[in-house]
């Protein structure tokens, strides 16, 4: 055929789409929502990543290596040794930490430097950038911030900033502003407070200590320079590559990011069902037209091409809208993602979105690709059909009836394949998700059979309740199975996704709540404010600890110390507890016997959390090597405990053993037990009173801490909840569009009913009952699929991502919500077609006949 005629075909297809604007718009919306969720999650993740790598880059500068001490700090004399005796000219001392600046709602990274040594590393912190040395290092608390931050704070050079470090307040006189030369630098330096080494040492109470020494070593340093330098270092100090820190951090968040991405893909999957549904309808509706075209000599391939073209158009429009809305959505999501990262892993401040090429390209590919895949079968069906049968609708229905069983068999096989994937050893998270995909697809293939089955049960029931109309409604669902089953399947998948995620979050929460109950045995907890909620990175002022311990009404106390140490598994969180044997009441052991508590005060043994054991593939009896101030020391893992506070895992040892190996007196947290008969709330008040003026600390009752912990927990799941809401929205729109289209398409049938004497009221009843029935069916079917999904999320994906043991918890609330969602959406979908048909003169609707 010539070009003109194919253009004619295209025009006719466009005309069709425009004549069904609702339909057209809803399918675009379906694609758009899916794409927008994927794009926004990707942009949020990549913005967080860019912000992280920029701030790392700003802080690490051009350092190739770093010298670190055993427990977070290093004797400053090492610097003299390295620079003077080791003659390493490109070396720079660094004291690092976090601070809050009054007036800005984010945590700043404090970089304490020697501007004279800085030039090769971080030009902005160097004397060459223009730092006035006499003001910077002469003993006064002075510092630099980025120009943009100064504008935000409305301060200028010479003004004083009020800052707080681990609950202690300081004022810093601003002696210079960092003028950033481009956006990238601005973004990188926006959360940085640059101080002199001496000032930072005072702020962090690190006199005589450095956080690390940065080095720039030549390429071949591994062979000659490093071994030589290592001989100059004290026990416990080591030279590591500066990018190993970035690697650690990337590993930390990998599972977190992956799960977010998977959830966004789930939204797209639901979107695909919508598209499939839409395209099927548009084909089914045009069956007579297609038949006529075929009869006129249009080839199969041309029909296929036209339908696919339509799909591309819908895909393109949906993708563009999805990308744009995705960017807007990302602005909200990035805040949530950042908040979670801050609560869970490390301090991160994302001031702006990084809209890279890849998230958009991926969104486009997924949007258009998913549309094409989803519309391939409807398109093929339209083009493959024989001319004569195409003109009759019933043929299609008789076809699906024949296919119910084969579809179910394929469905079951897909489900089994999904199960098979689960059984692959070391399958990883990706395998978990692909198994999930198989199960979803498998389940939706069984849906036609289930609908037929359910219809058999529902028909007599509705017959009793709603008489003939009730029966007719149910039968209608079955007789038009080719369309209703797709709509119901879309609805089922969408609702099941919300059930799955809901059950997972519930299970998680229940587990954490009950764990907190047993974990929090003391009456009052004292903690310094920490920049990462789940990681105690600041210390209590020693005098404060003594004062609080001696407060009237305090019977007993114990302390914890939390530090990052280097082990044979990388950088890990080590917690030292001075609780002695009584700790057995606090910690729940997953593996190991209670004899551990007798021995751990005297032997080199330790306990790791189950997450730690899972991540690092270690178990009871294994050795763990920790770099201590006395060199590398081996410890035996003798217990594994439950711990839901860290998804990276912790190592717990006794404080006495810790003190043998670390020169560290500091205390990160204090737990106090009230004397019998003392009101805990009163004690908290008394303790707060006594802590005044010493350090700003959190003094919380057992209950208060539990609530605060759960609040943080909930906050870290906000992203998940938001994604679930989005999935619900996609589901809702999907149902609406599917069922509405279904009913609109039946306008002729409804007109016949009207012409045969059905009143508008009865028509309402008929349509609403039918959509309601579909809603109920979908609601019911979504429950088992949802639970299956939750099961995989909790026992496979969570386990493979983090290694947590969770109690599976299905709340009726989530289930009721799911069924209600389906029914309400279905009912709403019935309103417009009923209203329209009730108003239309049946004669008009039948005119074409």
């Amino acid at each position: 055929m010539s070009k003109y005629s194919s253009d004619l075909l295209w025009l006719s297809s466009l005309r069709f789409l425009l004549q069904h604007p609702w339909h057209f718009a809803l399918s675009i919306l379906g694609v758009a929502l899916g794409v927008s969720v994927v794009v926004s999650i990707d942009i949020s993740n990549s913005s967080a990543k860019t912000a992280f790598s920029l701030s790392t880059e700003a802080v690490t500068g051009k350092a190739t290596h770093q010298i670190q001490g055993a427990a977070e700090d290093l004797d400053e004399e090492v610097y003299q040794t390295i620079r003077i005796d080791g003659k390493i000219r490109k070396s720079a001392p660094v004291v690092e930490g976090y601070a809050r600046i009054t007036g800005v709602n984010r945590t700043f990274q404090v970089l304490g430097v020697d501007p004279i040594a800085e030039a090769p590393f971080r030009n902005f912190a160097s004397q060459e950038a223009g730092i006035e040395l006499s003001e910077f290092m002469a003993g006064e608390n002075t510092g630099l911030i980025a120009e943009s931050v100064a504008q935000e704070l409305e301060v200028s050079i010479g003004d004083t900033l009020a800052i707080s470090v681990g609950g202690r307040s300081f004022s810093i006189r601003l002696i210079g502003l960092i003028d950033t030369q481009d956006d990238r630098s601005r973004q990188a330096l926006e959360s940085l407070l640059v101080l002199d080494v001496s000032t930072a040492q005072r702020l962090f109470d690190m006199q005589g200590k450095l956080s690390q020494i940065d080095l720039i070593l030549p390429q071949n340093a591994e062979e000659n320079i490093i071994p030589e330098l290592k001989t100059m270092l004290p026990d416990g100090a080591d030279i590591i590559r500066s990018d190993s820190r970035t690697e650690t951090v990337e590993q930390m968040t990998r599972a977190f990011e992956f799960n977010l991405q998977a959830l966004s893909m789930l939204a797209l999957l639901v979107g695909m069902f919508l598209i499939y549904n839409t395209m099927t309808f548009s084909v089914v509706q045009r069956r007579p037209l297609i038949g006529r075209l075929r009869a006129l000599g249009v080839t199969k391939n041309e029909i296929l091409a036209i339908v696919l073209k339509e799909a591309v158009l819908i895909g393109l429009l949906g993708t563009v809208i999805g990308m744009i809305s995705g960017i807007f959505l990302a602005q909200v999501l990035v805040k949530l993602v950042t908040q979670s990262i801050n609560d869970l892993y490390f301090v991160l401040s994302v001031q702006e979105l990084t809209i890279g090429f890849f998230p958009l390209a991926k969104g486009a590919l997924l949007g258009i690709g998913a549309t094409l895949i989803a519309s391939f079968w409807p398109a093929r069906e339209a083009s493959q059909a024989e001319v004569s049968t195409v003109l009759r609708r019933s043929s299609n229905e008789s076809k699906i009836t024949k296919r119910i069983l084969p579809l179910a068999i394929i469905g079951v096989s897909a489900g089994l394949a999904g199960l098979g994937i689960l059984l692959i050893p070391n399958g990883g998270i990706a395998a978990g998700y692909s198994s999930l995909l198989f199960m979803i697809v498998g389940f939706s293939l069984i849906i036609p059979m289930l609908i037929v089955g359910m219809a058999k049960v529902l028909r007599p029931v509705l017959g009793k309740v709603n008489g003939l109309i009730g029966k007719m409604s149910v039968r209608g669902v079955v007789t038009e199975l080719s369309r209703t089953s797709v709509a119901i399947a879309a609805l089922v998948v969408a609702v099941a996704a919300t059930v799955g995620v809901g059950v997972m979050v519930d299970s998680f929460r229940t587990t954490v709540v009950s764990w907190l109950e047993s974990q929090l045995q003391a009456d009052v907890y004292v903690q310094p404010p920490s920049s990462v909620s789940r990681n105690a990175d600041s210390e209590l002022v020693p005098m404060l600890v003594d004062i609080l311990k001696e407060t009237e009404g305090v019977a007993e106390s114990h302390t914890v110390r939390s530090v990052d140490v280097r082990t044979n598994n990388g950088t890990d969180n080590l917690v030292a507890i001075d609780q002695g044997e009584a700790a057995r009441n606090t910690y729940q052991l997953k593996e190991g016997d209670s004899g551990f508590w007798q021995d751990y005060t005297e032997e080199n043994i330790l306990m790791v959390s189950e997450v730690y054991a899972y991540r690092n593939e270690v178990g009871l009896g294994d050795s763990l090597f920790i770099v201590t101030d006395r060199g590398r020391q081996g410890f035996e893992i003798r217990a594994i405990n439950f711990d839901y506070a860290s998804d990276i895992g912790t190592i717990t040892i006794n404080r006495e053993i810790y003190n043998q190996y670390f020169e560290d007196e500091a205390i990160s947290g204090l737990a106090l037990y009230a004397e019998d008969g003392v009101e805990v709330d009163e004690l908290v008040e008394r303790l707060r009173e006594r802590s005044k003026g010493l350090q700003e600390v959190f003094i919380r009752s057992n209950k208060g801490l539990r609530e605060a912990s759960i609040e943080i927990f909930d906050r870290t799941f906000t992203v998940t909840v938001v994604l679930r809401m989005l999935a619900i929205l996609v589901a809702f729109i999907g149902v609406l569009s599917a069922l509405m289209a279904l009913q609109l398409e039946r306008s002729r049938e409804l007109a016949v009913l009207r012409a045969n004497g059905m009143t508008p009221g009865q028509l309402w009843n008929y349509v609403i009952t039918q959509t309601g029935v579909m809603g109920v069916m979908a609601g019911i079917l979504s429950v088992p699929l949802g639970i299956l999904m939750a099961y995989i999320l909790v026992y496979v994906i969570n386990l493979r991502s983090f290694g947590w043991t969770l109690q599976f918890m299905i709340s009726s609330e989530v289930l009721i919500q799911a069924v209600a969602l389906a029914v309400v959406a279905a009912l709403l979908a019935g309103i417009y077609p009923s209203w329209k048909m009730a108003k239309t003169n049946p004669a008009d609707a039948l005119r074409n006949e």
Binding site: G61, E76, A129, I178, A188, G356, A361
Partner: protein, 391 residues
């Protein structure tokens, strides 16, 4: 129609690449804007050289915190056995960044990092044969053991650059040999043992050297004008055993130059007949020679004769324009001091000995020849010239 899709896709793709591309591998660059250094030239609160004083040794070989500036200045000419000549300069400057009472805590030499003492080091080697001048500048805070000056044991250091007292039989509190060690990043290096060959000279008026009309524009100025030097010089990976003669100035002040003064030309000459001549002329902004120009002539036994500007006739015969700074420095002179019956022709041994460091100046080895009391003499020396910067 089909083509259009591909166009759209291709354009999106290319636009994406263009968008994404330039983000890679950019350096995070920024400068710092600061308040105008407050009273950077304000001498308020610092100690001043206001008149002659008693020196006590070894203490006065050490640092004098409270004065703004202090330096230990070694220059010398050394030779290999084959007669190959090297000049060297090794200087450690102490700079006090704020008046002594202006620090909240930490005095000059505490263990802590905070300090108002900034140390600078300048180190240069003049390879006369190759007409190659290599130099390096270093900074460090005078704290945390990184740099400092101390008397017991005598050590002036900036990281691994140091002047360290070495033991010797005839050493006393005033005169003792030192070992000077310094290495540049390029590997050029000196390791010299330097022993005073003449007594310590108190320059100016018993060590008080007035440099301007204004009260306090003066320095305390001690010198060893001739010191036996022996050791190793390493340059371009080659190590040379050398010996020769060095000169050391130790000077401290808070402000030296008057506002009208622009720079100086400072000569240190060791004549072959055993005499040493120090002469500096301060130049006024209008090109004239300041009244506070002075010098001293040290006889072989160490006795000093003061030289006044009117005693000296100095004529520039030639100049050299620095390709680095476009500054035009004198490079050849005739110096006549009729009072001493001395006439010298002086010339830099090669032109480019400019110290292109944070404060640019010329510090170069000089060839000396001439007549004294009718006798032909030769010698070696150093010339330091400042204030030739083009505005």
């Amino acid at each position: 129609m089909k083509k259009l899709y591909w166009y759209i896709l291709a354009i999106t793709f290319i636009a994406g690449i263009v968008w994404f591309w330039p983000e890679q591998d950019q350096e995070i660059r920024a400068s710092v804007s600061v308040a105008e250094a407050m009273g950077g030239d304000d001498d308020e609160g610092y100690l001043r050289a206001t008149g002659p004083r008693e020196f006590t040794f070894p203490d006065d070989h050490g640092p004098h915190p409270g004065f703004r500036t202090e330096w230990w200045y070694y220059t010398g000419n050394v030779f290999t056995e084959e007669g190959r000549q090297f000049g060297y300069q090794f200087t450690i400057f102490r700079n006090q960044m704020s008046p002594p009472d202006n620090t909240t805590n930490g005095q000059a030499f505490g263990e802590d990092w905070d300090t108002n003492q900034l140390y600078l080091g300048h180190f240069a080697i003049s390879d006369v044969e190759n007409e190659d001048h290599v130099f390096e500048e270093r900074y460090s805070r005078g704290a945390a053991g990184l740099a400092g000056a101390q008397v017991e044991p005598y050590r002036i250091w900036l990281e691994d650059w140091e002047v360290l007292r070495v033991d010797a039989e005839n050493a006393d509190d005033k005169n003792f040999p030192v070992r000077v060690t310094a290495e540049m990043e390029t590997g050029s290096k000196i390791e010299l043992t330097i022993t005073p060959a003449k007594p310590l000279v108190l320059q100016g008026e018993e060590g008080y050297d007035k440099k301007g009309a204004e009260e306090g524009n003066a320095s305390y100025y001690l010198a060893f004008t001739r010191m036996d030097t022996e050791g190793l010089i390493t340059k371009n990976g080659e190590e040379y055993q050398v010996s020769g003669s060095s000169w050391m100035d130790h000077e401290w002040s808070t402000s030296a130059l008057d506002e009208s003064q622009e720079g100086w030309d400072w000569f240190s000459l060791q004549l072959s007949n055993g005499y040493d001549l120090m002469y500096y002329q301060l130049r006024n902004g209008d090109g004239s020679v300041s009244d506070f120009t002075t010098g001293s002539f040290i006889d072989p036994e160490g006795n000093k004769t003061i030289i006044n500007p009117e005693d000296v006739k100095l004529e520039v015969l030639n100049t050299w324009e620095s390709p680095h700074s476009r500054s035009v420095y004198p490079s050849q002179w005739v110096m006549k001091i009729p009072k001493l019956d001395l006439e010298l022709e002086l010339a830099t041994l090669f032109s480019d000995q400019e110290m292109d460091v944070s404060v640019r100046y010329f510090e170069g080895t000089l060839g000396v020849s001439g007549e004294m009391n009718g006798q032909q003499i030769g010698g070696n020396g150093f010339i330091e010239m400042t204030g030739y910067e083009q505005d």
